[in-house]
């Protein structure tokens, strides 16, 4: 699974209190959301997209399912 720039933008701009089960995803999402709130530039978005996709590539299904569940609520 790979997130597009638009998906990552939507994720980082979400005002819903998303909840993840995977610790790495919870910590990374919180950090990236805070970074993006401070500097919502295309470069920041690209860097965030890379990190999310690295995480999904590394951890595979469990991480992807956690993301899908959290964002579908």
């Amino acid at each position: 699974m790979s997130l597009s720039s638009l998906q990552v933008k939507k994720l980082l701009e979400s005002t819903k209190p998303l909840q993840f089960k995977q610790i790495a995803l919870s910590l990374m999402y919180t950090r990236l959301k805070n970074l993006y709130q401070k500097s919502a530039t295309p470069d920041t978005l690209d860097a965030c997209m890379k990190q999310f996709n690295d995480l999904f590539a590394k951890f595979g299904n469990a991480m992807a399912e956690d993301y899908k569940l959290a964002t579908s609520i």
Binding site: P17, I23, A24, L27, M28, T30, R31, N34, L55, A70
Partner: protein, 320 residues
Amino acid sequence: MLLDFNKTSELIASGKLLHIAGTEALLRKLPKGNWIGGSTEYFIGEGGGVVTDSELSVLVLDFPEFKILSYDCGNISNIASDGYGNGLTVAVIPFNSAVHTEYAREAPGYADMFIKPVVGWISGLNLGKSDQTPIAVNGITGEVFTDKAVALSALMPEGKRADIKVINIFAQDESSPIIRFSSEGFAAEKCLVDGKEVSFADYIAENSIDTALPLVGDYAGLGVNVSIKSIENGIVNFYAPVFADIDYRFAVKIPDYEAAFAAKINEIENKDNIFACNCILNFLYGNLEGKKLDGFFGAITFGEIAWQLLNQTLVYVTIE
């Protein structure tokens, strides 16, 4: 497992890769070998919580390919990226050192952090003794550090993956107000309580808040504790930094620590961990000495690492 000095030395001589926790005095005397170590005098052993200066907590890490590296403030940012692509990094950082502060503040931003598994702990001392210094040891070189972290990175076997897990018996008290801080740091004078700026020390006093309870930050479903160290001259000092942009609340009171841990541990299906450590504040406030924690043996620590610095948690690693 808890072993005496001679048995630990024999294991080192066998060439096995070891993670060792024990007193500064014992660690300094151990022979060189494939091990890293950190100081503490508090442990969870098979018989329960124990305070001892005559035994060491020894974990055998059965991974043939590994490296042991030391880090100061100048290169600690490489700790995750130095790890293997499919590996596990276990770090020991001396309490109250500059590298401890650096890691606490900056670790979430280090390259490859959260992508590669990084666990570990903050080494400490016996709180009742004045002649000890928190240390980290690189067993290969025999170097003992008060100002550097030591990390062991191991390559996981083909088809296996190290999975970091956290047991946190605390949760945010949803009936208490949201607390925010305007900047990150190990201390705070002011905070925002439901958006209104107040003196944090006054807020704690006026609301008779038990400072044995940590603040719990909301990290997208994960509660991350920040424990209160002291309140001095209107300044609240913490064991880990608070961050701006995180919603904190004080934790719900835990009437029975042992029962709370037992309940959390009973929920866990796979207790087969290769590494576990638990916080000194859990040990002390929970009166864990002599009490059993089924299956999560290891060092009692002055801070836990699950990628970033945590407080008042039990961190463990399983192989999936």
